[in-house]
Symmetry: C2
Subunit: 421 residues, 2 copies
């Protein structure tokens, strides 16, 4: 089955929004093992939409149209598709009733214009949308399978899973098509650049067989996307697991997580397991490490406090850093990082204190201390202390991000192995 | 002149990356006042790319192809375009020399495969790319204008400005085409929802003349994009300025900035101007407010410290909140917010103290204090105190974001008007 995507919307042609729907539809088809050969985008224009649809009907079996199902006059996808296929539009009374109630509950008038959203091309099937007023539509016409789907991403994505996926399953079962399964997994790698990863994995990547390995740099970490094609999902998962083991043998614990596992989540899990508490002292990251950790629900179980001590006075007063040390070594130094970690641990009575101090730029650099220089320190249990020095490159926000990543990774290493080197 | 975009890359068809190039190319054409009617995406496949290109040649005057110019064997755009147009590829010796030196400087071998990037279809023009090895190409063939552009966004975007824009200018001058200018401006609005804005501006939006007004909800604020079409850039700017005044008369100071001005930047400017210092006490936002303010270069001039007091103990110890008040009112209360603001102001000896305390969820809610309840307080100069209570909806990260936005906006109002209501 050959698939094609058509996204509709003048805002896309003006470059006012990014077409995430094309990506989400493509990724959905890939995960279903369906081959996608073309994506097209047209504006809210009947003639051009009709032309693009006719081309798609001439070369593809499955056509997913997205957008242009709204109630206003520039939404013309439903009417144009019906016209091209030569099908009259008929009212779905149950959806019309649903719409009427929807508007009534919200105390909004149910205008005639809204009734268009209850119209279905003859023989078509309405796919209820519980997150908006425009339902999806499915039409099977002259051996072609055509889906019309709403444009708002928060309506589209659930509809794909809840309605389109099972329907595609029965379509393919009916046609006796042998299904190929695509199984993907993302390995999240930190503390090593994309180039170095490609070098280390060159023997695995260059063969580019099945599963494939695609590295993607994410600013502060690298994602390795493994994709296996297999006759069953179970076999695909097995192939992925084997390839993952090969990669982990090479990259070792620089692979910190999988799929949606963020570094802050991995660190939070370790802290929960070990029932440890943490206090943070941040300078150049300006609260970003604390922000990332507090994005995790229930982080209050381990995080006692995060002190952003931007000024020297705050470092002295809140963390007990000696003014003499600040004067002698400067705020961005090994000694101050260690004093900050010790100070925040003690003042918050936490199991651990983590501290960073650095120069995020663009100002504040000297010949000896360039933009991107960062000292970080960890005051662990039983009086253990660790220190690391980094030199990051990039703009201010990227330096903040990379520093927060390295600090969280230092903490992860300490929690996993009791060491950071 | 009718334009069309073709993006090339199998990774796009697999949904592995988002097609930001289509958006950037579209937005570039819009700003040049060129009508774009179609966008297509195909994989690295000669037959299908040739088919899509032939269709484009049959209906458009200007065709921008992007991607597939790399050195590896799956990069086939250059060769396929030459084949479809019936033009032989010829070597550009000066670019070949440039590539040789490029590889030599990096100590990398200059393989035969890299020489392909010095090939130009006969009669075509090479557009030097200073950020990568694949140059852009421009071909004028049988009245059609065809551009081949590199896929990496950090190479594409500068090439559009530096090479494509001036070339388009002379193409259109040569053809005697009258240029229409598109001028756009974004007004950034906070503290009011998209629906309420549309209602208030309905008389302006419904006329939808020139300039157009397009509202776009951004989670924590709304962007109003004004777009004017005019015979000159100057006239366009004037039309935008008039429409902006009309909008500001209705929305008043809820319009806080324009284009790239973030709320944190606006607040930072006010603090610099007034030479005031600030200390923050955050609970539910977990450092996000401090993080946003420290994204601004030179924020150290006003920001003394940000204390994320997640635990009750930290609120007592670091901010001097009375344990009795915490016990009586609970951590999420007007009284604790005010005590936190006062405490952080005093302990950091800042001109102002800003504090937030709330329930970001998903846990921690009670019948009286639901998820999304937030109290914020400002301790201003001369013993002035302000308090605001909010109820935000959404997931944990969205509640954090909306709270940080409301707190920064409270500060902005105080700094501009000496009041927050």
């Amino acid at each position: 089955m050959k698939a094609e995507i058509i996204t509709v919307g003048t805002e896309l042609l003006l470059g006012q929004i990014t077409n995430t729907n094309s990506r989400d539809l493509a990724s959905f088809l890939a995960s279903e093992g369906i081959f996608l050969y073309y994506q097209s985008t047209v504006g809210d224009n009947e003639d051009r939409l009709a032309e693009v649809l006719r081309t798609a009907l001439s070369r593809s079996d499955l056509i997913l149209l997205c957008g242009g199902l709204g109630p206003t006059s520039d939404d013309i996808t439903r009417e144009t598709v019906a016209k091209v296929l030569g099908l009259p539009l008929e009212k779905d009374h149950s959806w019309e009733k649903h719409l009427e109630e929807f508007f009534k509950r919200r105390g909004r008038p149910f205008a005639g214009i809204n009734r268009r959203q209850a119209m279905v091309p003859r023989g078509g099937r309405l796919l209820p949308n519980h997150r908006g007023t425009a339902p999806g539509l499915y039409i099977h016409h002259k051996l072609k399978h055509i889906f019309l789907l709403p444009g708002p991403p928060r309506e589209l994505v659930p509809l794909l899973q809840e309605q389109v996926m099972p329907l595609l399953g029965s379509i393919r079962q009916g046609s006796g098509e042998k299904r190929e399964f695509l199984v993907t997994k993302i390995l999240r790698v930190t503390g090593i650049g994309e180039g170095e990863i490609e070098e280390k994995l060159s023997s695995l990547i260059s063969t580019q067989g099945n599963p494939t390995i695609a590295p993607l740099a994410k600013g502060m970490e690298v994602h390795l996307r493994l994709t296996a094609r297999a006759p069953s999902a179970e076999e695909g998962r097995l192939m992925i697991a084997e390839k993952k083991d090969e990669i982990c043998r090479i990259l070792k614990n620089q692979v910190y997580g999988e799929d949606e596992e963020t570094l802050e989540l991995v660190v939070a899990r370790l802290l929960w397991q070990k029932k440890l508490t943490l206090a943070l002292a941040e300078s150049c990251t300006g609260g970003l490490i604390t922000h990332r950790l507090t994005n995790i629900p229930n982080s209050s179980a381990f995080l006692l406090a995060g002190l952003v001590t931007y000024s020297n006075e705050a470092k002295v007063k809140l963390l007990g850093v000696e003014p003499a040390v600040l004067a002698r070594e400067g705020a961005v130094s090994r000694e101050v990082a260690l004093a900050m970690a010790r100070g925040v641990k003690d003042s918050c009575q936490a199991s651990m204190g983590l501290a960073v101090t650095g120069i995020a730029g663009p100002g504040g650099a000297t010949r000896e201390k360039p933009v991107g220089l960062v000292h970080m320190a960890l005051a662990g249990e039983e009086g253990k202390f660790f220190h690391k020095k980094h030199l990051f490159w990039g703009e201010r926000e990227l330096i903040k991000l990379r520093t927060s990543q390295a600090a969280l990774d230092l903490l992860r290493n300490y929690l996993m192995r009791g060491d950071v080197y």
